[in-house]
């Protein structure tokens, strides 16, 4: 087996292992939630007979391991149970929320990735210029401020003062792309600002590293222009590391998206998870937590794999 596929397989195996650990954790955490599920459904006035009946129906009398396997099996096959609050099928509740979150994430990625790669290229080209220094100090500010603080500041300036964009998005308009983009402008900008700093820094660092290498110097001596070297030689080499940072950032975004959705009352998956925790809606908590953790694991695995696969040195050594 080649070295490369060995690394990828190992990483994929670890990813699956983590997913398994995640499912155990999610199950365990929801198992020890204060208050019995049966009481949660029936309320405090339930008689002991009613509680016994519903425990029987939910299979709560079964041994823990058997319930775990049933739950996991149901989850994998799309039978995630019914919401305790509304009785609706969890998969049906989750589907539109998932689309909303994905829509926001894609919108943010489409803006953030080209923007930060361009800014990173400019920082590398004008290394140590005022522009470069200014962007790196802005980055320090952005990484040390939580998402919702950025969101509040954006809302104060662009929604309250200038009244350009709405400060809440209760019902995203999927019919009209322009109206959708306008509605989601502030949440999108919040995500872009939180991603920008890392992406610019990584693009810049990778490009500078390539520019300092002997072959870039050789090209310069041959008379190639700085821009030609940047785009022809440096940028293709930066794709791997930058993609890996993008994947890591999307992973990070997954964790932070709940906060942003709550700021804007946006009906996404993150807000659904937070609301479900308030209502102690176990099946919904389990399903949303599993989706978030799985997506996070997937992004981290992709980040590692892309760093390995797209690194020309490791690829050739294989």
């Amino acid at each position: 087996m080649s070295n490369l596929s060995h690394v990828v397989l190992r990483r994929a195996f670890f990813g699956v292992l983590t997913l398994f650990a995640t499912s155990l954790l999610v199950f365990a955490a929801t198992e020890i939630l204060p208050g019995d599920v049966a009481t949660a459904i029936l309320g405090q006035t339930a008689t002991p007979e009613m509680i016994a009946a519903i425990r029987e129906r939910l299979g709560l009398e079964l041994p823990l391991a058997q319930r775990y396997i049933q739950w996991l099996g149901g989850f994998v096959t799309g039978h995630m149970g019914n919401s305790l609050a509304t009785g609706a099928d969890v998969a049906t509740v989750i589907a539109p929320r998932l689309w909303n979150t994905l829509g926001l994430a894609v919108y943010a990625a489409v803006v953030a990735i080209p923007l930060s790669v361009c800014l990173g290229v400019l920082c590398a080209a004008w290394h140590r210029s005022a522009f470069d220094r200014m962007l790196s100090s802005v980055s320090v500010f952005l990484v040390s401020v939580p998402e919702f603080v950025i969101a509040v500041i954006l809302v104060v300036i662009l929604a309250v003062e200038l009244k350009l964009f709405p400060s809440v998005v209760v019902r995203p308009n999927w019919q009209n792309p322009l109206s959708f983009m306008w509605q989601l402008f502030l949440p999108m900008m919040t995500i872009v600002f939180t991603m920008l700093a890392h992406l610019i820094r990584m693009t810049r660092a990778t490009l500078l590293e390539v520019l300092a290498s002997p072959y870039a110097e050789m090209a310069l001596l041959k008379g190639a222009s700085k821009w030609r070297i940047l785009f022809r030689h440096a940028l293709p080499n930066a794709v791997g590391p930058v993609l890996s940072v993008i994947a890591l950032n999307i992973g990070y975004l997954i964790s932070g998206v709940a906060v942003i959705e709550v700021v804007f009352s946006y009906p996404g998956l993150g807000k659904l998870m937070v609301d479900s925790i308030f209502y102690r809606d176990l099946p919904l908590i389990q399903a949303t937590a599993m989706i978030f953790c799985a997506a996070y694991v997937l992004c981290n695995t992709l980040a590692d794999v892309s760093a390995v696969v797209l690194n020309p040195r490791i690829g050739r050594a294989a």
Partner: protein, 286 residues
Amino acid sequence: MTSAAREGEQVTIMLPRINIMGALGVAVVGLIVLAAVLAPALAPYAPAKIVGTPFEAPGRFLLGTDVVGRDLLSRLLYGAQFTLLVTFAATTIGFVLGTAWGFAAAELGGILDDITDFTVNILLSFPPLMLGLLIVAALSSSLTVLIAIIAFIQLPRVVRVARSIAQTITALQFVEAARARGHGLVAILVAEILPNSWRALGVEYGLRLTYSTLFISALSFLGLGIQPPDADWGLLVRENLASLQEDVYLPALLPAVAIGIFGIALNLIVDWLSDEESLAIPEDLR
């Protein structure tokens, strides 16, 4: 080569030359800590007392009032206490445990090191905020639980860094010499490795403080952190978010800006501490 810190010898702690941004960071963090400690003396009103009408503009009250008419300045000052208490307590606990674990894994190696590596990788594969939310959901949002959760989330991150710092030191000759002299694990960790890694650890501690601040603020903002009528800065933003719909923005903006300023000031200190290269090994050992 001599031991940088033989038993009984004074360890001199050399800080990098202070720069303007570093000084600014220290001053701001100092002021915020002072404001939190002196909150009972500085606050004009009790934090939970309703003294006016909702969202009053500054005037009668220095910064105006909050969503139910409590004095915003008083709530901000007392809020600092909760934000800082959770930040420092959780970071310190996670940091001390994580450092001890990471150092021990690096020094002992073998199976302990492998187990450490594996556990840390598993723990790091959970999205931190979701992990926090799940544990809060399972256990409740008491102050103790919140501190424990954040310490736990910091743990694998600290272990990883402490382990890699220690790995560069355990291979050095003075540690070898201490082992040959028959010193026990604790003696080696405390007398040989710790004095030679304090700076790298200091930088990591600063980063962890920032992270804890962001974390408790986010949890409280989601309503799953500090519980009313108490409030840290994150919860203050949440409580007053409605003010943005009424075109009043100070009550939501001020606590948000306070979190931002505190985070930035901590990062300025970290930048100052990590100003020089090769943090793990002091100058004379390079």
